[in-house]
């Protein structure tokens, strides 16, 4: 009998490791070869892409296990998996195939094939090959050079028969050592385009970074058409084709209009103006339909029937867009489905491809102006747009044709976090009243947070948020505005007794006018961070604190104002004495949500200045001193 001397034996949970693993830097890909070949499948009578993906892994430490994970789905089949370690297939080699859980997606047809590649001694070579078939060229959209591991050398080749019209668009090649070679294979009447890249750094995940299509070198594969075996296949030769395919998908939805009409009437029963009716519909979908995404094959691209979304009270962006549109159409409005890509995606409809969009909303053509209704944004009002879709190209349903518009870029005033405090000194405390207003995405952030918390803890959570978790900032008599109407701003008023911001030494008071000090710890670690920093949304933080100077006191040591202004952001802090009031005014404005790496040094310098300014106090001294 074996006695186990340790109580806990560490379990290596392979799947979790495979999916969520941060790549071990002890392993690299010494060579990678991906071959893509367009073929015509006589049996299934369609054009397919055969892909052979081979990576050779090696390690510079002992006992490195590389979790090999390969995605597939209804359109990509894994035909064969091979694995050799130092030219021998491991005895226990057994790839597993499993459902792949994706954040925010209830169910997806995405699957993974995974297995551990154990590289025991230094310099072991693990050779892994996947042979796959893509059954529809529409879904063959991009090929990346970068991997989760450093790549010493990578070759990507495309064998494209002359009957296949494909454009290979090179993205993010600048600064990369990538060579291209084109040859012609006369026997197969095919062009072979080979790209070779050297010394590619590993892909890295950083918070608030642009999506991978902005960062890593890759090739967009734009499959346009094929003429083979006396058949013509049209893919996305132009945006017209892409729209036609989308239109065909949505035209077969078959909503039950009786149910929809009844609901539309019910929602707008006592409303008379157009705007009231439109808002009633939009806010109903926002508030009553939970986000549950099903991405199962073609269902991942076709909206659920509106009456089904209504019945289930859940749906994804497509379902919500379809429901919103159908309800509005039932009321006689000109509402349409709209496709778009969020700012996670680097491209737009200039390159027709399935890769350019990932979202659907409803567009309402109202008195010649298009209003966009995105019910997935739960707490934004009409005419308010989330950062992720602002300025993005949007493909709008328009019968047989389409409209190509842009989502408006919100005014700077859309997102607003405004606080005004009127305080006085009383018994070593700052006592007074505070009014707080949140608009736009600031409002959405607060309300999302509040609604994710259990009801019985919501008040406590709000107090903690308003006090910045500062126990000496005591809030009483808190009144929060109703959250029933997304049109309206969120407001809070409360009384405050703040002991943390005032210190007395002798007869003098030292006042810290700002308990929040936003961005004070926002310096970027330039030694570690590789990618641009994208703020979640445009910000305008405005605070004003008015402190009544006690009788027979004066304010001294007034800090110098801070005024930092550039095209990307502004920091303004100033102190004024107006009569017997000391007024602290702060404005922090993020005008450009994209902070590039070249601007990090300047950002850090400005954050340092901001921190210094925040860490100033005002002195209130007796007039006699």
């Amino acid at each position: 009998m074996i006695k186990y001397f340790f109580a806990c034996v560490a379990c290596f949970l392979l799947l979790n490791s495979a999916i969520a693993h941060t790549a071990d830097s002890s392993a690299i890909i010494s060579s990678s070869k991906s071959d893509f070949q367009f073929i015509y499948n006589n049996k299934s009578k369609r054009v397919e892409i055969k892909q052979v993906l081979n990576n050779v892994y090696t390690n510079d430490s002992y006992m490195v296990t590389v979790p090999i994970v390969e995605d597939y789905n209804d359109y990509i089949t894994i035909n064969e998996v091979e694995c050799k370690i130092d030219n021998h297939t491991p005895k226990d080699f057994k790839p597993e195939y499993s459902y792949y859980s994706v954040d925010d997606v209830f169910y997806t047809d995405s699957r993974v094939c995974y297995f551990p590649l154990a590289l025991v001694k230094k310099g072991t070579k693990g050779n892994v090959t996947f042979t796959e078939t893509v059954s529809d060229p529409k879904f063959f959209t991009s090929v990346y050079f970068s991997e989760p591991y450093k790549v010493s050398s990578k070759e990507i080749s495309f064998k494209i028969p002359r009957w296949m019209k494909v454009e290979l668009k090179e993205i993010n090649f600048n600064g990369c050592d990538i060579q291209k070679n084109v040859t012609y294979n006369s026997r197969d009447d095919a062009d072979i385009i080979t790209y070779t890249a050297k010394n590619l750094p590993a892909m890295s995940k950083e918070s608030n970074s642009p999506g991978p299509s902005y960062l890593y070198p890759h090739i967009m594969v734009l499959c346009k058409s094929a003429m083979v075996n006396d058949q013509t296949f049209t893919y996305f030769a132009s945006l017209d084709n892409q729209y036609a395919w989308y239109k065909e998908l949505v035209s077969s939805i078959n909503n039950d209009n009786t149910i929809i009409s009844a609901k539309a009437k019910d929602l707008t029963a006592n409303l008379s103006t157009d705007m009231d009716k439109i808002k009633a519909v939009f806010y109903y979908v926002q508030d009553n339909i939970r986000y549950v995404a099903f991405e199962d094959g073609l269902a991942g691209f076709k909206p659920e029937k509106a009456d089904e979304v209504l019945r289930k009270k859940y749906g994804d962006c497509k379902g919500m867009a379809n429901l919103t549109k159908s309800l509005l159409v039932a009321l006689g409005y000109d509402a349409r489905l709209c496709w778009l890509g969020t700012n996670h995606i680097a491209y737009d409809y200039q390159t027709p491809s399935m890769a350019v969009d990932n979202h659907m909303i409803c567009g309402l053509n109202y008195k010649g102006r298009m209003i966009y209704l995105d019910a997935t944004e739960k707490y934004l009002g009409l005419n308010e747009y989330a950062e992720r879709i602002q300025g993005r190209q949007v493909l709008v349903e328009n019968g047989d044709k389409y409209l190509l518009n842009r989502i408006p870029v919100a005014l700077a005033s859309q997102n607003y976090d405004y606080e005004i405090s009127k305080l006085a000194v009383e018994r070593n405390s700052l006592i007074g009243n505070v009014n707080h207003v949140w608009k736009g995405e600031d409002k959405e952030a607060v309300l999302s947070g509040l609604n994710s918390i259990k009801k019985e803890r919501a008040d406590e959570a709000m107090l903690k948020y308003l006090s910045n978790s500062n126990g000496d900032y005591q809030i009483s008599d808190l009144k929060l505005s109703s959250t029933d109407n997304p049109d309206k701003d969120l407001t809070a008023t409360y009384k405050v007794d703040n002991k943390s911001s005032i210190t007395s030494f002798g007869k003098s008071y030292y006042i810290d006018m700002d308990i929040r000090k936003e961005l004070i710890n926002s310096a970027i670690n330039v030694a570690e961070r590789k990618h641009d920093f994208w703020f979640d949304y445009h910000m305008h933080i405005a605070k004003q604190t008015e402190l009544t100077i006690p009788a027979s006191y004066k304010a001294v040591n007034m800090p110098a104002a801070l005024n930092i202004e550039n095209p990307d952001y502004e920091f303004h802090i100033k102190y004024d004495v107006v009569g017997n009031k000391l007024v602290y005014t702060k404005n922090i404005i993020i005008k450009n949500t994209h902070l590039t790496t070249t601007k990090f040094a300047e950002w850090n310098k400005n954050i340092e200045l901001l921190a210094k300014t925040y860490n100033q106090t005002i002195t209130l001294k007796p007039v006699s001193e």
């Binding site: 169910y107 230094k122 019945r311 609604n451 919501a458 126990g471 210190t503 040591n557």
Partner: protein, 746 residues
């Protein structure tokens, strides 16, 4: 957020064990329909409730009713497989039924998804016999709207996230569920298994806390066991008992009905297994524990502990333990028999403990290389190691006892059910008692881990009868609580304003930790290389090459090289650990971190104090007021616990980690041309029976010396003494807001 439902095992008639045929699918559908009628047709009034008391209107959700019922039957069966086999067929059937009022979006997210193992068939065939091992799950759900309208959920809307013939996992998003609705759902599981394993108490042990995340208006538990099964229950912390009956077939029936079950309140310093009522119930068919109980005539509330204790005692079979090897290594430490003979008992036992620790923690396996940093987080198996060391001590003719104890963070000793519910240690009976606990790498000889301090123990006096039998006499006792002055964090901070910018502070920090206060930082800041070096030195151990020189294996050289590499790599990662430690202490990213060093590893009693240094710069600790500067002196301690208003009242006893002391000595350079103000505000002295807080400040030349000390006298306080604790906690947290003015002199 998904609500994951417990897997309950039921018995029912098993269907074909191979690919799911149409017949099987129909059988499944029919059974599902039958269950739906049974469960919703026979509902108690509580499962028809639609109203909740107004006092619960602010709750995220209210469980109107919950019931769990389980039936189990086990019988012996003869199977003609490859050999004639005697096996056990167990059938289990359970129903979890819940009716919940959803009051907010958080609860809606939590309850709106059901995820379950729909079918799992692991049956096998051997020649003429089929060994069944199958389980099936049936679900049902309905939504009751505020108007009273009931909407039956079509469970065929489920998606199968795994859909193999023998393995299906399902997920169902409940349609039409909204805030204000009631969700009424059930999950039935049936399980049929022909196997010998899986029939013991260990595999059929359910624990039910009689509190919940949400308030429950009605909660029922019902069990039915056939007469061949033995059933054991533990009722802990005043839990109400089952009503026990029998039916005409002799089945054992246990039933409990509760009303108005309170919500579990998340509070600081609680021990749920000691403070909340729970029931642990297990059943077994042919478990050796029942033979032990029968043979020894154990009875009463502690029958399971008595049986498990006997299992432990019966495990003293010398051939199964490598104690000779440990004893040899111990003797080798001395090199010289005379030295061994003349050494005092406590010194020799220190050596034995260190040799044991080195032998267990500094041996590495191939799999350790996959995640080498986590090797230092291992914990020893107390019972196995106590037995092993006991055999060495018997050979050495040392006077000792074995103590059995339960952790304060888990069940008490009286409520032991499973073998893992208690631990073992050794007490050396010298001039004073000395303890050997087999725990983590940081534990010293004669150190009692905090989770056992103050706990009742069973003291076993062993007597060797033969190589395969030890006998024991026993008595009870209590482990001492180590006083606060032995569990100390002592920080010396030398603080100065940086030359370039007086709004930044340069801090040289020296930290010394003893007792229970060492362990966490030792495991964070030291690498496996530090530990290996430290223990090798303490136990006169060997370098890696020598350590494995007698190992045989094709890849042993690669393995040794791998270990050496991993140890070197550990050494390069340490600065990150120090950074993290500073950031977690001061809640901000430190700058210019340097001089980070482990001065004393504190791994054994030759160097009992864990000591480390670091130097860094902190921003945001100094406010400027014209030419003057205000330093957040209180924050230099890293802050003290601050209670929220809601935590200032409690009715649950207080289980803290340890009695402990925190001392800070902060020396701040006063720049030339500056004087300090506010020094007198830092003087404070408060104490009561639960602890003390004191602070002071004095100017000595060009240094401001600030001291602060916080003591928690005990590791446990009664709820009635919480107000006294609040006083001390408040005194300390108030210190955090203290400031000193550095005023420019004219």
């Amino acid at each position: 957020m998904k609500r994951l439902l417990p897997i309950l095992i039921f018995t029912s008639i098993c269907s074909s064990v191979f690919a799911q045929s149409e017949k099987e699918k129909k059988a499944y559908t029919d059974e599902a329909a039958h269950l739906q009628t049974e469960i919703w047709g026979n509902s108690l009034p509580e499962f028809n409730a639609t109203k909740t008391p107004t006092s619960l209107d602010k709750e995220s959700a209210v469980i109107l009713a919950r019931s769990y019922s389980m039936s189990r039957a086990s019988n012996g069966k003869i199977k003609f497989g490859r050999a004639l086999t005697f096996t056990t067929r167990t059938t289990k059937f359970s129903i979890f039924h819940e009716r919940v009022k959803i009051n907010d979006k958080s609860a809606l997210e939590g309850f709106a998804t059901l995820e379950y193992q729909k079918r799992l068939d692991q049956s096998k065939s051997e020649l003429f016999a089929k060994f069944v091992n199958e389980n099936k799950t049936y679900i049902g759900a309905k939504v009751i709207k505020p108007s009273g309208k009931e909407v039956m959920i079509n469970t065929s809307e489920e998606v199968l996230i795994k859909n193999e013939s023998k393995d299906q996992k399902g997920k169902l998003a409940i349609p039409d569920l909204q805030v204000g609705d009631i969700l009424d759902y059930y999950i039935c599981k049936e399980d049929v298994a022909d196997k010998d394993d899986g029939n013991t108490y260990k595999d059929n042990d359910n624990l039910f806390f009689l509190v919940d995340e949400y308030p429950m208006l009605y909660y029922s538990l019902d069990f039915q066991f056939n007469k061949k099964l033995k059933v054991k229950t533990i009722y802990a912390n005043g839990a109400q008992h089952f009503e026990e009956n029998q039916n005409a077939d002799g089945d054992q029936l246990l039933s409990l009905k509760l009303h108005d079950v309170p919500k579990y309140m998340r509070q600081l310093w609680t021990s749920p297994y000691r403070e909340y009522p729970y029931i642990e119930i297990g059943s077994a068919y042919d478990d050796d524990l029942d033979k032990i109980i029968h043979k020894n005539k154990f009875e009463g509330n502690t029958v399971m502990f008595d049986a498990q204790k006997t299992v432990f005692e019966n495990g003293f079979i010398e051939i199964e333990y490598p104690y000779h090897s440990l004893e040899t290594k111990y003797r080798d430490y001395f090199k010289d028999k005379k030295a061994l003979k003349n050494i005092s008992l406590d010194s020799s036992m220190k050596v034995l403990y260190n040799v044991w620790k080195y032998d267990v923690f500094c041996q590495y396996a191939l799999r350790d290389l996959e995640d080498f940093p986590s090797v230092k987080l291992r914990a020893a198996n107390s019972k196995v190691n106590a037995t092993n060391v006991c055999m060495v001590l018997t050979n050495l003719k040392v006077n000792f006892d074995i103590l059995l104890v339960a952790s304060r963070n888990s069940n008490s000793l009286e409520n032991v059910f499973g073998y893992s519910d208690f631990d073992a240690c050794i007490r050396i009976n010298g001039d004073k008692p000395m303890y050997m606990f087999f725990d983590d790498i940081a534990n010293h000889f004669d150190e009692i881990p905090e989770r056992y301090q103050g706990e009742k123990v069973i003291v076993l006096h062993p007597k060797r009868r033969s190589a395969s039998e030890y006998s024991f006499t026993e008595e009870s006792g209590v482990l001492p609580v180590i006083s606060a002055d032995k569990n100390v964090v002592n920080e010396q901070l030398n603080v100065s304003f940086t030359q370039q910018d007086m709004q930044k502070l340069k801090i040289g920090r020296v930290v010394k930790e003893t007792g229970a206060m060492r362990h966490d930082d030792q495991k964070v800041l030291m690498g496996v290389d530090d530990i290996d070096d430290g223990m090798k030195s303490a136990a006169k151990g060997q370098d890696i090459d020598a350590r494995y020189k007698n190992y045989i294996g094709r890849d042993i050289k690669k393995f040794i090289a791998g270990i050496k590499d991993a140890l070197v790599k550990e050494g390069t990662e340490k600065s990150k650990n120090f950074n993290k430690e500073i950031k977690s202490k001061y809640d901000q990213e430190p700058q210019q971190v340097s001089d980070c060093k482990i001065v004393n590893k504190g791994l054994d009693l030759s160097q009992p104090v864990f000591e480390f240094n670091e130097t860094f710069v902190l921003n945001n600790m100094v406010k400027r007021a014209g030419s003057n500067y205000i330093v957040d002196v209180g924050k230099l301690t890293g802050g003290f616990l601050k209670l929220e208003e809601k935590d200032k009242k409690r009715n649950k006893d207080v289980y803290m980690t340890a009695a402990r002391t925190f001392k800070y000595n902060i020396v701040i350079d006063i720049p030339a041309g500056y004087a300090v103000k506010g020094v007198e505000e830092l003087t404070q002295n408060k104490s009561n029976k639960t602890g003390a807080f004191s602070s002071s400040a004095v100017v000595n030349g060009n240094k401001l010396i600030v001291t602060a000390s916080r003591v928690y006298n005990n590791n446990f306080e009664k709820a009635a003494d919480w107000p006294s604790m609040v006083d001390m906690i408040t005194a300390a947290s108030d210190f955090e807001s203290k400031k000193i003015l550095f005023e420019k002199q004219n």
